[in-house]
Symmetry: C2
Subunit: 348 residues, 2 copies
Amino acid sequence: MTQYNNTRLLQALKRQPVDVPPVWLMRQAGRYLPEYRALRTKAGDFLTLCQTPQLATEITLQPLRRFDLDAAILFSDILTIPHAMGLGLSFQEGEGPQFAKRIETARDVKALPILEVEENLDYVLEAVRMIQQELQGRVPLIGFAGSPWTVACYMIEGSSHKNFINARKMAYQAPEVLTALLEKLITATTAYLKGQILAGVDVVMLFDTWGGLLTPAHYPLFSLTPMQKIITNLKADPNTANTPIILFSKGAVSHLEVMADSGADALGLDWTSALSAARTRVGAKVCVQGNLDPALLFSTPEKIKAAVKSVLNEWGPHPGLIVNLGHGIEQHTPIENVQALIAAVHEG
Amino acid sequence: MTQYNNTRLLQALKRQPVDVPPVWLMRQAGRYLPEYRALRTKAGDFLTLCQTPQLATEITLQPLRRFDLDAAILFSDILTIPHAMGLGLSFQEGEGPQFAKRIETARDVKALPILEVEENLDYVLEAVRMIQQELQGRVPLIGFAGSPWTVACYMIEGSSHKNFINARKMAYQAPEVLTALLEKLITATTAYLKGQILAGVDVVMLFDTWGGLLTPAHYPLFSLTPMQKIITNLKADPNTANTPIILFSKGAVSHLEVMADSGADALGLDWTSALSAARTRVGAKVCVQGNLDPALLFSTPEKIKAAVKSVLNEWGPHPGLIVNLGHGIEQHTPIENVQALIAAVHEG
């Protein structure tokens, strides 16, 4: 077993007492850091960075050198799986992801290959091993995947779309095609997260960015159940059973209770929902991670300190809080404000 | 007083019994209709259509000729106010709205002119008069405006942006500038809606498309309170006090109780929230309008009929339901499915 210098995140995930709550930030490795931008200019586009273990390792570690973060998170993307399935992912500057092929029919779903993680996504596993080598137990490493529904949204739409209307249409027009696609993604995501855990990640997170686009009837069917199946798969395998799982369905706070019954150890909360309400509703069952507004980081260190104090007071003396943003850190976030946020959490 | 042939909407808004619930559709006048597309090709761009009373009248009436709708809604846009204030609105094909000038500083806010509705937005008032002339009391006419927060989002961002990060940043960096902007918009929107009511609209609706982007602390401050002030202004004036007001904050279902205390007569619900929960929470105070998924309209008449039945059952025998979509109708929606939806509501 790895001996960690900083066990706050792992303790919080077991809902054990901690000296101060752990803090990390979604997209903490990324574009707001000048050293990331420098590397990107030198080394290539976003996909190249993800696919080159040395570069992914360096980028994962960059924020850890600057900030007193309680966790590292693998630098990668939620669309590695469909890319590995041959859909031809690219990122146009300022445009978001774009696939060369879209999923439209049962035939398209059937044609998707079974993912061989060790082979098709070896670059991710190699990055995990290299990062853990470098971290030397300083903090735990979080691995991740997109939720099947969220990944399906991009595969069906072919790119980012504010409403993912084509994926939502498929839920009505051809639910059996959507279900078949989700089943393939459940299998692939289970294998992918098992691979990440065996390669060394300490925690895994499921990013369900688009679960909040579904109706009350469709959310459990198409978003939650597939995630639940992955969680069940991981918890059923002795090699992965002890790895904590964080589930983050953005914009889906109405469904918090059923999420808490999914088997996940922690639930992510976006910035539009109250932490205290979440604690009352599910705090006896799961940890809660969140939920500062990424826009707050454009104010001043004083305002950030006050906002953090208010979050800590709102949560109270209960176990199981992981401080984070309610969405990824924004591109032009000032470094000193990130510093102020982390210091404020650790000052308590 | 106008004598209406169809009073379902007005009765439902008073929470009085109706034979069957009223139904209308957000964006019912628009791009999914071939006659709209034909007119647009012939007559000019979106802004020209809005600004030409004869064309706005024709477009408002188009869906009424095809469908047994229980209300007409003025064909216009939520950005007419900032356009009239001189920010230079344009719509690029497939790109959404674009302003020539953005609001960034206190000086920019100060420079905004006081709106003279009769002068600057006379084309809207003229369209209302022409539509009522044509409707002859067949169904009530709904007028509308964007909420101050939502309109401010576009004025600050300069265009549509999925997260409106600049508007959200201003809420932290310069709340006094945002508040000053919202105050100007409260005044302008009050005058605008009064003008619409005096010109003849029977109901007004506030579209708060981006209220759901705010934190639990910022929503009441920057989204709800400005809307509440407009409602108070309208209810305090004997000329407008009896006109029912519908408030729609998309993605803000957590705030339903405080919305119900705003003085609005009805609350819009988006497609991600359960109608039954809304009825339990606020159904004793206000009407509820919604909330079918616009994506449902891409399925079949049979599925739509079943979904409508399920909505009507979910609501039960209570007064105060207005059937609508939970968001605007999508561009490629099949006409026969719209027909099926409306028929299913009226069959009960």
